[in-house]
Amino acid sequence: MSLNSSIPSGPMAMKWSKHKQDSKLINPKNKRKFTVLVVGSGLAGSSAAATLSELGYKVKCFCFQDSPRRAHSIAAQGGINAAKNYQNDGDSVHRLFYDTVKGGDFRARESNVHRLAEVSVNIIDQCVAQGVPFAREYGGMLANRSFGGAQVSRTFYARGQTGQQLLLGAYSALNKEIAAGGVQMYPRTEMLDVVTVDGHAKGIITRNLVTGKIESHAGDAVLLCTGGYGNVFYLSTNAMGCNVTATWRAHKKGAYFANPCYTQIHPTCIPVSGDYQSKLTLMSESLRNDGRIWVPKKAADIGKTPAQIPESDRDYFLERKYPSFGNLAPRDISSRTAKEVCDEGRGVGPGGRGVFLDFAEAIGQFGQKTIAERYGNLFAMYEKITGEDGYKQPMRIYPAVHYTMGGLWVDYNLMSNLPGLHVLGEANFSDHGANRLGASALMQGLADGYFVIPTTIANYLVHQKPGSVTTEHPEFKKALENCTAQTKRFLDIKGKRSVDSFHRELGLLVWDKCGMARDRAGLTEALKRIPELREEFHNNVLVPGSGNACNPELEKAGRVADFMEFAELLCLDALNREESCGGHFRNEHQYPDGEAKRDDENFSYSAAWGYSGDFAKPELNKEPLTFEEVHLAVRSYK
């Protein structure tokens, strides 16, 4: 199938305006006849569900958590970017656009990124009107900070919990529409499959996580707002429930999965402390503003306490390698460099997987009080988790999987190649290229939900007869039977190993071979071992309990089964991309000084993989990336 990205013609800065003008309208009386199914209730899902309901569409919204407020967008700490230029420091839509394309290592679609930068300003207006308590100055104006190495202050924030405040804003809009009768909410409900009729997405199959009932829902369009796939690595900063099931099952129904190898590793997380570890906790990278990162120069010193290692024996490796950015080098570079020094045997803490983040100098310069004012909550969190006092001894940090830039392929209307199936937020692939900049995930989720889909969905719906497909259609019956059979199959295996033990093993394998740095030999080995592990899973997993009740083990089994299949595509994509860019670093492709070596001649495309029925041989479709506005350049932070 050819990929039609439906990018509007005309100059970059005018594309979105033009597209809005050219987009179809549906008259208010007819909108009520359309049902839109929204899967997921994070920033993208809640904002889309609420806004579509305001417009008059009938909306059904589904989430696996017990309340839409708990979706993992809630955990974002740092902030949200917007090109408001309230600080008069030279910011503009164009600059935010440029920074995002460059930050993404020139692997994002320019037109989508420009639109993102344009609507960023509306997001802040919308959130303030909803009562989101952004930080303010004494004069009553909104406060901003510089974030993630940006040279302008364009980040809006709400203490260390910007994600929670933005999600509560979107959730309040959703509640308003639930109360008005426009949205029907289905909490504790997990999507198991997309139903296609004549090639169009016309419904979903769900499982009620309280009663176990498997049900069909028909709609005129389906929106997947189901987040990223970081938990394929088992340990990540994602919530425990985050999964790839919705997007993977849609992929198996024909939707293309694009650039799965673009995964973001966040440099400032608390290291693994043992094999019981269930998740990794992120600490805001703002810590790097004052903390200095180092390891001992000599591997022999790793057993010593930091105080026993004199200044001359310390290697402040980021300052040494990147003198102009130092400890503020971008996420991918900082993470990879930390891995390098640990690979050299100079890592500190349990398992030698950690580097020091040292505040001694900052405390000496500004006093502990000032440092506590800036980062007190983070020091407290660190103490809670590690039992160590970051004021008295350096913290230990290590990179962890944080965000996934890849996702289902979408066109400019956010519609996948499966007509009717739209994909929003982290679940799609479109805006961040090979690396996401700090404070841009919240921006994208809300841009897609509040401002993009409410306009673009009409371009699909206007050609549909509302309510033309019901759950009586044989395709629903077939999909429902498949899901029921799968559930029964898991319960019937009655093997010897728990679901978690398989998930852990898969995660370790993928992290080892397809984590911060990848190479041909490792990926080839992973591609051999994943199918073996998958086979063992399907023969030896032990899922206790029944399918007709609340059964968390059964839920996990379905998710891990999908990760087992998805992991193979992740490694295949990483193997196919014979270059290094952003979050994808291939050891074979680097400059002599260790920097990532992009290959624009051969790999300036998005890889959109089609499901072929054979995991080893998916179909590769290429969307060429063309750059009209931004000039391709080596991304240097030296």
Partner: protein, 262 residues
């Protein structure tokens, strides 16, 4: 790192049936593990022994989603101040300890299974007015409405609530006043929230009563148990806002109380 040998007494229950405490031995628990990781270890062992694992709610495991909800030794989220269950670590316990683990108990939070309860009442309370009726695309520029730092900070204090329900579980009356007052209070202090203030206050409080939460008798166990340290001063404010709105309503000059959206 050292290891702990623990005796657990865990509440087991299927929806609609009577429950009971089950004795579970939990030897060799690493003291660096979180409470939920300790439960993971326990569950893994139960599964290997052919028993059903303990069902419990959890998701982000970093103290912000509000999903985890265990009553530990009688205290919601356990002994450590300003900490959710997921951020409580086993080094706060000693080897040989007996630990009682129960679900959050309240009539308005029916048990679904074991330690999992239904907190849908919190969603319904917020649907009864916990929002500002603004359509997407309608607002003016964000800085057109200056809001003083003191007011903005106060709104943020209230907005820190993660909706976990510890306040209800801590209260002998199972009152939801701390939760409702924080949610209503955030919007009631802000200028954007003024037009709907009365309607919001009456709507949310009445829905709270309808859900079967008890009355507040000012003993403030809610504040002590709150992982986000929401202050009981918000309850004072809610009572004041409610009195004003109710008087206005009685005098006939308040708009009709509705679920919203009209």
């Amino acid at each position: 790192m050292s290891q702990l040998n623990l005796h657990l007494k865990v509440w087991r229950q299927n929806a609609g049936q009577p429950g009971h405490f089950q004795d579970i031995e939990a030897p060799e628990i690493p003291d660096h593990a979180s409470f939920l990781e300790m439960m993971d270890i326990v569950n893994d062992r139960l599964i290997s022994n052919g028993q059903e694992p303990v069902a419990f709610d959890h998701d982000c495991r970093e103290g912000i989603c509000g999903m985890c909800s265990m009553q530990i030794n009688g205290v919601p989220h356990g002994p450590e101040k300003a900490t959710t269950t997921c951020q409580l670590h086993m080094r706060k316990f000693r080897t040989g300890d007996t630990i009682w683990v129960e679900p959050f108990r309240a009539k308005a939070f029916p048990v679904i299974k074991d330690l999992v309860v239904n907190r849908g009442a919190f969603d319904r309370i917020q649907q009864a007015g916990g929002f500002i009726s603004v359509r997407t695309g309608a607002p003016q520029d964000a800085n057109a409405l200056p809001i003083g730092k003191v007011v903005a900070d106060a709104a943020m204090d209230a907005a820190a609530c993660i909706g976990c329900g510890a306040c209800v579980a801590a209260c002998k009356n199972a009152s939801a006043m701390l939760f409702v007052s924080a949610k209503a209070g955030q919007l009631n202090v802000l200028p954007q929230g003024q037009p709907e203030k009365d309607r919001r206050t009456l709507g949310m409080v009445r829905q709270m009563d309808k859900e079967g939460f008890g009355n507040c008798t000012n003993q403030y166990e809610c504040e002590a148990a709150c992982p986000k340290e929401i202050s009981v001063r918000w309850i004072t404010k809610l009572n004041r806002d409610y009195a004003v709105a109710a008087v206005k309503e009685a005098l006939g000059n308040s708009p009709k109380v509705a679920g919203g959206g009209d």
